[in-house]
């Protein structure tokens, strides 16, 4: 019989249980649930029946079967995804994230840790602190866990040898110290017998500390947050009729009272709290964790993703950050690729501008890395399209933790934490140059710009680029042609055809093109550039109007038939991998400045249309520079 619960729930402790494969995590949770009477008898009967069939404990009840929920893992005897379980004692209500021990499921471990107050780190007494233990502890710390306790499991298998336990405890303290966790406790337990989990056994008379459950019931995990300045990200603007406009959200930090002055970030407008609404009632005050609707007077413009904050200590906003990432996607992170960043209730376009290093989580070493792959942890520079209100993650999980979404697949590609803002625009000023792009281009009596030809291999890009280059040169223009194939002999000689190398290839070519435009040249780029995000990235480097995207369009069939270099034939035979149009996609431009259909138009006609467009829409200046002076 479970005891009836108290009328109001006791305070909740959220913890994540981490450890290596076979350390017995699920058994520990199963035991806690069982001993706290959170298992109904019919569920236990089912588990007893299953124990005989799939159990790993012989005839004894396999408590792990209480928590290993999915059919596949019940049959394989492993945990493949993070599971959440609740139980309560009169003192505390617990929400446990059972995180899997396999290396390839680091992302689930990170997810489990992200909302936890504390980590219970489990090791096998026979094996001690393993690289995997360090890995999980480090991930937990990176995702905001400040408190940890070590449970040395399977003590029964080492005959409760005190020396074994002490050696592990020393290693643990060294690890926790290095990671700067507030962790001192280590507890010898046996999940199999239940000793020191919920009751002190007689097996280890030398241990006089608390049981794991007693520790969890009493450990103080109150972090900072309650006494910080007020912050509330706006989730929803409630506007049922013209007389009411409320801002809904959950208070992320501090507290707010009716009459308080607030400032909206990032806009910077100020107002006062007119009322705090919860359901049909109103309140004088709301604090961290409360979900409320605020009305403001005077009414100012506030939208979803804004942060309402204490007017005396408003929320910072920035568009450049140093951040830590755990990569969660099969596709590796490529510098310059566009992602959607979601931070509290705000979504914004973002790109990683630089990978500073990858972290080896088993020893804490920082390694140089061109890419981040699935389950890698790294530190990067991140740029967002617009300033976003935030707080460093160390101050606030709610305002400093984010995810990156891959817009092509909609997958959650990464979870990240803001370390600090990079005020690059403020700190690193552009050296002001007296001779500007305009001056240089007027001297050449032309409009400097980048004509970017994109299209599949053999669509006609190089032919058109070459003809255009000749035509403009004959007219006395100053031009340069950057050809995709040619740059690979020099500028991009060190790059291959992996995803990361392709992105770097584009980045270099776009950057060189931009410098040449700055020098006053008309730059023609002939580049397959199959991905929309890459072309958008290139466009973003130029001033509006300086980048003309030309889609050289021909069907795959036509290109494969032309095949002047025999590449399609090879790709179709499988001799070349990642070939655009064959086994790698070409994302057609949605809104090119000009589309040239080379199945209908001759190269000469294409160039005609192109020069018409340039002359009409981007006329060259006719007057010399001196008029300005």
């Amino acid at each position: 019989m479970a005891p009836a619960p108290p009328p109001t729930p006791p305070p909740t402790l959220r913890f994540v249980l981490c450890g290596s494969v076979d350390d017995g995590k699920s058994t520990v949770i199963g035991r806690l649930l069982y001993d706290c009477r959170q298992v109904f008898s019919d569920e236990l009967r089912r588990v007893e029946r299953d124990s005989a069939r799939h159990g790993t404990q012989g005839k004894a009840t396999d408590f792990a079967l209480l928590v290993d929920g999915l059919r596949d893992e019940r049959e394989q005897g492993i945990t493949i995804d993070v599971a959440y379980r609740s139980f309560e004692t009169p003192r505390r209500r617990f929400l446990v994230a059972d995180a899997p021990g396999h290396e390839q499921y680091t992302r689930n471990m990170a997810t489990g840790a992200s909302t936890a107050d504390l980590a219970v780190v489990l090791v096998d007494a026979r094996r001690g602190v393993l690289p995997q233990t360090a890995r999980h502890t480090r991930i937990a710390a990176l995702f905001g866990v400040r408190h940890a306790v070590l449970a040395v499991n399977k003590m029964d298998l080492v005959e409760w040898d005190r020396d074994v336990f002490e050696a592990i405890r020393v290693a643990w303290r060294a690890l926790a110290g290095e990671i700067r966790l507030a962790a001192v406790e280590a507890i010898p337990v046996s999940a199999l017998t239940g000793a020191n989990l919920t009751r002190n056994g007689t097996s280890a008379p030398w241990y006089d500390g608390p049981t794991l459950l007693a520790h969890l019931e009493t450990v103080d995990v109150e972090g900072a947050g309650a006494d910080r300045p007020f912050r509330m990200p706006v989730q929803y603007v409630n506007r049922p009729h013209s007389d009411f406009r409320g801002y809904c959200g959950r208070v992320a930090a501090g507290a707010v009272a009716v009459g308080d002055a607030v400032r909206i970030s990032p806009a910077g407008t100020e107002s006062r709290v007119e009322s705090i609404i919860v359901g049909e009632g109103t309140r004088d005050r709301a604090a961290r964790g409360d979900s409320v609707t605020l009305t403001l007077a005077p009414d100012v413009d506030v939208t979803r993703g804004d942060v309402v904050a204490d007017a005396d200590a408003p929320a910072e906003a920035a568009d450049q950050f140093q951040a830590r990432l755990v990569w969660m996607h099969d596709e590796p992170l490529a510098v310059g690729r566009r992602y959607t960043l979601k931070l509290h209730s705000r979504e914004v376009g973002a790109a990683v501008t630089r990978i500073r290093h990858r972290l080896d989580v088993s020893n804490g070493h920082e390694l140089a890395a061109p890419v981040l792959r699935l389950n890698d942890l790294g530190t990067v520079n991140l740029a967002t399209d617009r300033p976003v209100p935030f707080a460093p993650f160390d101050e606030s999980r709610e305002l400093g933790g984010f995810i990156l979404i891959d817009p092509a697949t909609n997958a959650t590609a990464a979870a990240g934490t803001i370390v600090f803002p990079l005020m690059r625009a403020a700190n690193v000023k552009w050296q002001h140059l007296d001779v500007s792009k305009d001056v240089r281009s007027r001297l050449k009596l032309q409009r400097a710009q980048c004509v970017w030809l994109t299209g599949m291999s053999a669509s006609g890009k190089s032919t058109i680029a070459n003809l255009l280059d000749r035509r403009l040169t004959i007219e006395g223009r100053h031009t340069y042609l950057l050809d995709g194939d040619n740059v690979r002999h020099g500028l991009c000689r060190d790059l291959g055809f992996t995803e990361a190398d392709r992105v770097e290839n584009i980045r270099r070519v776009a950057e060189v093109a931009r410098l040449m435009v700055d020098a006053g040249l008309i730059v023609i780029v002939a580049f397959i550039s199959p991905f929309r995000s890459e072309r958008d990235y290139a466009r973003g480097l130029f001033e509006p109007g300086d980048f003309v995207e030309v889609f050289v369009d021909a069907s795959l069939e036509a290109c494969a038939e032309r095949d002047p270099k025999g590449l399609y034939a090879k790709a179709l035979r499988g001799e070349i991998r990642n070939f655009t149009g064959v086994d790698s996609p070409y994302e057609r431009p949605e809104h090119p400045d000009l589309r040239l259909d080379t199945e209908k138009l001759s190269p000469e006609e294409c160039v005609e249309r192109l020069t018409d467009k340039l002359d009409r829409e981007f006329p060259a200046p006719h007057a010399p520079v001196t008029e300005d002076r």
Partner: protein
């Protein structure tokens, strides 16, 4: 919002009303009516929707109805598939909903413990446990490809005790079937089944009798077992429910059809 009329649905609707007040929740309620629900449930449903000021959409699998699919002649597994799983898919396809709120909790069943708060479903409404989106810091990725949808379970981390405590604290109305009263029942396979209307065929030897009973869970009356009880107040119900040594779903017969049955049903598009 998928509205099943049970206590969890009552809590979910209450939360939505609180969140959006003074506006009404900006989404309709969807009820999958198998036509075998308790009559008291239907009356309660219509009242709750009217009070909340939200549109109520009721869907029944008309094909199943025409074929006369019922829990007696077709067995609970086939009946559930046709009148609940298929009916739900029909209603969701018809509505083209991108987000469906449901009252599921992780403590109800083991496979649910591993399901995300925002659970991605493909165009066939199926759940792929190995392709779940991580949800760090409760940040939810709501991007959808055409045809995909999300089942959102705001009560994921609530326990049964939390639900009852909240019902008491907020004085949330629940279907009277949760309270003990004298009702007409027959004993079948060791379980009390209520005779809610005259469509229920009685087996030889079965004689409806008046018993003081209540329900721990409410659904289709022929598939929902009652318990004998005197608990006719909220406090008594809570004390009895939470002191019980049977899992909440024991009274729901469909979960016992097959081992791992919820996971199989969920992969098929049931909850």
């Amino acid at each position: 919002m998928l509205y099943s009329i049970g206590k969890d649905s009552s809590v979910l609707l209450h939360l939505a009303r609180k969140a959006f007040w003074p506006a009404a929740p900006p989404f309709p309620l969807l009820h999958i009516d198998t036509t075998w629900k308790f009559r008291e449930m239907i009356a309660f449903r219509d009242r709750a929707a009217a009070e909340a000021g939200v549109e109520l959409r009721v869907h029944t699998n008309e094909d199943g109805l025409r074929e006369g699919v019922n829990p007696f002649d077709h067995g609970s597994e086939r009946y559930t598939d046709v009148m609940k799983t298929v009916a739900l898919r029909q209603a969701l396809d018809e509505g083209g909903y991108d987000i469906i709120f449901v009252g599921a909790r992780r403590d109800e069943e083991k496979s649910r413990a591993k399901e995300r708060v925002f659970s991605l479903r493909d165009a066939a409404h199926q759940w792929d446990p190995k392709a779940q989106r991580p949800e760090p810091w409760n940040l939810y990725n709501t991007r959808l490809a055409p045809g995909e949808s999300l089942r959102v379970s705001p009560l994921s981390n609530w326990t049964e005790a939390d639900v009852w405590r909240y019902i008491r604290a907020e004085e949330i109305p629940i279907v009277p079937l949760y309270y003990a009263a004298e009702r007409s029942v027959v004993e079948r396979d060791g379980r009390w089944i209520m005779v809610d209307d005259d469509r229920m065929p009685l087996l030889p030897g079965e004689e409806p009798q008046r018993r003081r009973i209540r329900f721990r869970t409410v659904g289709c009356y022929p598939l929902t077992a009652a318990v004998e009880s005197d608990a006719d107040t909220l406090d008594a119900v809570i004390a009895e429910t939470l002191a019980a040594d049977r899992s909440e779903r024991e009274g729901r017969l469909i979960d016992h059809d097959r081992d791992g049955s919820m996971e199989v049903k969920k992969k098929q598009g049931y909850f």
